[in-house]
Subunit: 899 residues, 2 copies
């Protein structure tokens, strides 16, 4: 006997046995839809009889150059016989015709990407039989019209527009808006014309033999696996290309047989906000595509409850049964045919981030899933939802109702953006920076020359390009909402306008775009930032906290940041950048005096002015973080960052030389230029910064340590429980620590002696230079803690200057897939991760209780957090807003890899 290519829906046990038992393998064999249908049959749910042609058959067909494998057609014929037996109808028999649908169904849902044909089995003879049987001529001819239209376009490749034009003509003649309002005669004429079109375009007659229809439809679904849309979708969704699709042949049931019939789609819970109510759309006397296509105004499920209470009750019970069975919110298609309920599909429902969180928490509270499962079901990026403004969902619905939904494109960078349209980067930048306008930058596509405008814009919109286009990459990189690939949009940069379906939009018009969904609106829509105090989120995070082993700390430079971080659950401050305090307007002149000092006395005088400011900064942090550690990094950036730019001074001096030669003003500028030039470095990132500054200007870091310890002593006196950790940046060699740390240690002791108070402090270092990681065993002899600075470590390990590269060749690299992802977004495991691993092992070999964390942006990236967990770090530190994401990601890592 030949290989088994076809399984009846009732043969699910057999299929499961063949693949070895796992439900995942059954889904791989039968596709998600087929497995779901079979599963529902097993659960005694009302599923119309039918069968599934396996994904193996699809793969065999494609591998053989589009030839059915041996035995497949015979098995399909046999399965049709079984289906005939189950329904009591006969395929192609005019007296009692069986009609079937033919739908694709791959392992992973690829909505809209592959093909479906309904009403297979109709021809002139069976149409007549159906009319006799149902007495509903209009229903039958409508079904026949649908078959010819769908089959013609899907199987026979007739352009859809060719059919649509005919329908439009008839609607126009009849003066109706909907195809369902056309007369029987019109439908008959239309069907005849459709057949002529098929003959004209393909040179072939529309197949009237139901078995020909079945075979050709099966093949069309097989081939649609390798259609361009499907391939693009798989590339974008990282679905393997060798899975193949199954084909589901299912007895047709009809929601369009009158007022006792209907069809709908629902989710067992609200997938926008997560409320535990059935939500969905329903239509009386309609087929499924009418609900989905949006051509008819649908009813809510509550309407169905009123109109068909019995059916609704049955449906509600089925929803509970399916949710309990799958332990997940279900997305269900159903049809009522003359008072009988049929379930046509069930699958796990897609949902918004907010809904995902509420549903997971509710299901755990209902006892349907465990708390651990609830935590794993919410992705760290779902929490990101709470960090960005979003459109109010009702405002969007209202805008859609007002006809302001312009188009839907690719949702490549999430978030809501509202602004005035402009068409070039310079204007975008000028409007944003000089005129304070909110800008939406609209381009056919973007290039590196547009980046300055993109960065100034609230949102980015392009008519071309895909998920890895330049616009998409830049937008995601910088967190700017973006929608790309809006083919309907014609952008006329020269003419300063954009056209959609003939409607012209001009520079300055307001657009709203939703990067989360890809929607574009031609109006201003209200946004709101979600409330991070959402009780469901807080509950979920508290469960995550019990699962994770990684600590989650935050980066905070000011007491307000520290308080916010603590509110979000931070267990310490992993990075306070002291230089940010220096940049404040009223302090900067003193900082410049300190840098430009010609004598130690001048420098000390400037430092004496800065000391109380710094002390006050630290005092506030310590109080905000009472009982928790506060890691303070000593001054890090190159000094020239505090000085006017060399370029600006060069222009000013050149001008003054021509206009005011010999003036004191010129002399002063020249002196400043000369000082700035003396400090100029070819590669400041690799220059005089970090601990090198501390060694070069010892009085500067001594002042900082004095400020830290003075504040710590003062707080201790006031009963605050202070844990300062002083962090030395950019160490490359153990001797740097020996020199710097010893000097600072002495200062700390001196301050404590003056204050008569002992403070429990530590000295540690950033590990952010490859050499520090390579010699971590030595460095741990001095350092009491490590904190990975993976921004710098990535820059040096890759030899890539972040500032330059993220606007330049790095995007090109990601675009060309030379780099699988941006190493500044997620830690490069093979390179940077290898150095971290060495550093952790060597550091702990020297000092077994060495505390090791990571600060910097990778600390808030779930993929990097997973790596940090595996490397055995003690904590990650990230921006306060990312603390909830990190808490969840750390729990995921612990669940995935063990503690």
């Amino acid at each position: 006997m030949s290989h088994k290519w076809v399984y009846l829906f009732t043969e699910v046990d057999e299929a499961q046995q063949y693949v070895g038992g796992s439900w995942d393998s059954v889904r791989a064999l039968l596709g998600g839809k087929g497995a779901g249908l079979a599963d529902m049959i097993r659960g005694k749910l009302p599923v119309p009889p039918g069968f599934t042609v396996t994904t193996e058959a699809c793969n065999a067909y494609l591998a053989a150059g589009e030839q059915f494998p041996a035995g497949l057609w015979e098995q399909e014929l046999a399965a049709m016989k079984a289906t005939e037996a189950a329904t009591g109808k006969v395929f192609g028999d005019p007296s009692n015709p069986l009609l079937v649908s033919c739908r694709s169904g791959a392992k992973f849902s690829m909505p809209g990407m592959m093909d479906t044909v309904l009403n297979i089995g109709l021809n002139e003879a069976t149409v007549a039989g159906m009319v006799a049987l149902t007495g509903n001529e209009k229903f039958v001819y409508d079904s026949y019209r649908r078959l010819v239209q769908m089959f013609g376009s899907v199987v026979m490749d007739v352009p859809k527009d060719d059919f649509e034009k005919v329908l439009e003509t008839y609607r126009h003649q009849a003066g109706v808006a909907s195809d369902s309002d056309l007369s029987v005669d019109a439908l008959k004429e239309i069907t005849a014309q459709f057949k002529q079109i098929v003959k004209q375009v393909t040179g072939q007659d529309f197949p009237s033999d139901p078995y020909d229809q079945l075979k050709l439809a099966t093949e069309a679904v097989f081939r649609s696996w390798n259609g361009k849309r499907a391939i693009d979708y798989r590339n974008a969704s990282k679905i393997a290309h060798d899975l193949g699709t199954a084909v589901n042949i299912c007895t047709m049931v009809f929601g369009n047989m009158g007022q006792d019939s209907g069809t709908g789609v629902l989710t067992t819970r609200d997938v926008s906000h997560g409320d535990p109510n059935i939500e969905g759309d329903f239509l009386i006397n309609a087929q499924g595509e009418d609900v989905v296509s949006g051509t008819r105004q649908t009813m809510q499920m509550s309407d169905m409850k009123a109109i068909m209470p019995v059916m609704y009750e049955q449906l509600e019970a089925i929803c509970h049964q399916l949710e309990n069975y799958y332990r997940e919110t279900q997305d269900i298609e159903f049809t009522v045919e003359r008072g009988t309920l049929w379930i046509l599909q069930t699958r796990n429902a897609k949902r918004t981030a907010q809904a995902a969180i509420r549903i997971a928490v509710d299901m755990a509270d209902e006892g349907l899933i465990s708390r651990t499962e609830a935590v794993t079901r919410v992705q760290p990026w779902d929490v990101d939802f709470y960090l960005h403004p979003q459109f109010d969902i009702n405002a969007k619905k209202a805008a859609t109702a007002r006809g302001e939904l312009l188009a839907v494109g690719l949702n490549v960078s999430p978030g809501a953006a509202v602004g005035q349209v402009t068409f070039d980067a310079d204007t975008a930048e000028h409007w944003a920076k000089e005129e304070g306008k909110a800008v939406i930058m609209v381009r056919p596509e973007t290039t590196p020359n547009d980046v300055h405008g993109m960065l100034a814009a609230k949102g980015i919109l392009t008519s071309r390009g895909g998920r890895t286009s330049h616009a998409a990459l830049v937008a995601r990189q910088f967190g700017i909402p973006a929608v790309v690939g809006v083919a309907a949009l014609e952008v006329d940069v020269e003419g300063r306008k954009a056209t959609v379906n003939g409607v012209v939009y001009r520079e300055g018009d307001w657009f709203s775009l939703d990067g989360t969904t890809g929607e574009i609106f031609t109006s201003k829509i209200d946004t709101k930032t979600p409330d991070i105090d959402d009780p469901y989120l807080l509950k979920l995070l508290s469960w995550a906290d019990e699962l994770r082993t990684l600590g989650v700390w935050a980066n905070a430079d000011y007491p307000a940041d520290a308080r916010r971080a603590r509110q979000f659950g931070a267990e310490g401050i992993g990075l306070t950048r002291t230089e940010h305090m220096f940049f404040e307007t009223h302090r900067l002149p003193t900082v410049q005096k300190m840098i430009l000092a010609k004598t130690e006395e001048e420098r000390d005088a400037a430092l004496a002015v800065l000391l109380p400011f710094q002390r006050e900064d630290f005092d506030g942090l310590f109080r905000a973080m009472d009982t928790l550690p506060v890691t303070i990094r000593l001054i890090d950036p190159p000094m020239h960052e505090f000085l006017p730019s060399q370029e600006t001074l060069l222009v000013e001096v050149t001008e003054l030389r021509m206009t005011k030669p010999g003036s004191p003003e010129l002399a002063a500028k020249e002196a400043l230029l000369s000082a700035v030039q003396a400090m100029h470095e070819a590669n400041p990132m690799l220059g005089l910064r970090g601990v090198r500054l501390g060694i070069h200007f010892p009085s500067l870091t001594r002042m900082q340590v004095r400020a830290i310890i003075e504040a710590a002593c003062d707080c201790t006196k006031d009963g605050v429980d202070v844990h300062p950790k002083i962090m030395i940046p950019l160490t490359a060699h153990i001797n740097e620590l020996k020199v710097q740390q010893s000097a600072l240690e002495a200062e700390a002791k001196a301050v404590m002696a003056e204050k008569g108070i002992e403070v429990n402090y530590q000295f540690g270092t950033m590990i952010e230079i490859p050499r520090a990681a390579l010699t971590a065993g030595q460095i741990a002899e001095m350092a009491q803690f490590f904190s990975f600075g993976t921004n710098d470590l990535t820059q040096m390990t890759f030899g890539i200057s972040r500032d330059d590269a993220e606007k330049g060749f790095l995007l090109e690299y990601i675009d060309k897939k030379i780099l699988p992802e941006n190493p500044f977004a997620s830690i490069d495991e093979a390179g940077v991760g290898a150095l971290m691993d060495m550093a952790v092992k060597a550091g702990r070999a020297t000092r077994s209780d060495l505390e090791i964390g990571i600060c910097g942006e990778h600390g808030g990236d779930p993929q990097s957090i997973d790596l940090c967990h595996r490397l055995g770090l003690d904590y990650v530190s990230c921006s306060p807003f990312r603390v909830p994401i990190a808490r969840l990601a750390a729990a995921h890592a612990a669940l995935k890899h063990g503690k």
Copy 2:
């Protein structure tokens, strides 16, 4: 019995037994001088009887707070008895007095750093006895005067000047130039006055008891081990501080007993050039210090041969005996006392680099040492001698004779420099760059603000500072001859003059300074560059070649360089920098056109112009290196290096905006500025360069590969045996190689097909980014060879920008000993070396026949070559001039670590 602290010279076997046999341990116990004397006694050479107080005694004395250890004094007394027995004289006996010298002698020679006292045993009574015995009153009183003077200053700390003033007064009164011309009466008076000075200064009488003299002298020598001079010397020479010094008590013999007496120092071979002749200085009727002090005009050894033929013959025989025994050129002190020859010291002779090479080769040819030993005896840095101009030795002698030797300072950076004196950096730079003058920059000391002047100068001279002063560090770093710490030099920067002993030298005067010896001359002295074709050097290098396993290749950008490299023994070209070809004046405009091209067509047109130039370059290289590999690195530097500087353009544009607004000239400059600004990078070292350029401008590297393969095909047609190796720079990720190498491979194949010739080429990559080293196992999947670029690798591993740091904080780091040495001079083994080790192992694990080399400056550094040998590299590649150094260093590494 107490520990044995004292060994008679004759007890060398006993000493050897005590330390366990090794001669090195004997030297550690008895000091170099003591061991040498004992050894000569064993060899039956005429050494005056005496004994050695061990270094253990010295250490015990110092450890006990300057107390003789138990038994030491008793043993010294016993050894004196034995010495009395050997000489037949009695210490302190007026009738036949024994006189002894007391000299320091540590394991390693520290010339002039510790103390010596001669003529111990003289007092009023023994002086009288000596006069009676010798009948030479002048000799005896001269000896007595010397004792009081030396003992007074060395043991009793009387300032030397106090004695010198008295002598000067007497010389002045007598109208004589030399102390030896003073009368007996004058000597008597002087001695009496010396004793009064001792009493005045110290409050103590000069000790008349010979045993008191002996004990105090012994202690003085012990203490001199911890004198400031000695400690400084040991720090500079890396000699351990816990070795201690031995004390040698040796029977006095007198070269100052008349015309049948004399004294001299000689080396068994010429130590300037290495000629196999005895060379030295000799004086009739003199004591050793007269020869050394330079106060009397000495005779040559050839004079001695004429005057004292018998003595000379004996001495010649002894020289041969000692050279044969020690298998090294000896530095010998001898005295003739009334026709009897005594040898007072022998040690290995210091020599010039040139002499070291000739002597080693001669000794091997004579069969005295093996060729391997000859190779080990020459240090790689000795070969450096051949690379720098040197003063003609006779010209220096003549200048010294003319009184033009101004002073001798610390020889901190070798080589000869001749130039006009100036006193500040700006003038130095201006004179050198604008006026084309040769400049010697003279400062009290230097700071980072002086660096631009120092770099422009031919030589650097400072009155203050030591071997690790800023001036010394900068000079060594940049290979500029320098002499520092010339205390006699008073520099008056304001007055634009320098004064030495009252003589004033003004800005613009000519100085010559010898950084190799520390000499400063007040005139122009001829220099010459040594002939690298020195047959001794060539012979030695050929022996080295047989010992080494590392290949030695050269970096060469032009055919002339390649020919020179080959002449120096290079076995291949390890690096051709293609960009140097782009910088040539007539090509640069085309290169700029290529960079600034707005379309691919414009760029291709420019590349088409460059192609024949590049092909011609490579053609010449291949012909020069017929049969040997030529490694060509594709374009590496950031593009802006080929464009005018942003700063210059900024000034020009600003000026034009004010003077010629709206002019086409301004518009052109503005366009250029805008292009340059668009290419500007914050950290170009980490920016768009190397393989990133090749990926960004694929047509550029494709043109280069076309040029390489076209040239290779053409050469092959002409019968040249061509081995091109195409090297891709700055790889960080295997995917870069996949993209770039595949594209270039296709171009290479296309060219070969066009030419109808197959060329045996390879593709490889630089390993110069930490990530490349960390992922070398992956990278070796594509790369057929690796070449370490340790300049960049050091920059990124350390996070130090070389250009900035070597003029800035890196010098500070080396000065403060935070870094043991400049990592750009010698590879940092713990950091960069660790990465190299990983890369070698992982690369070879993937591709067992992977060829691995190093190019860049470390390739010519002996310490780095040693590391490369240990890491198992196949070759080092360095500048052509360094090839001989590398050949020798590679042999040393093989001998030290095995093959």
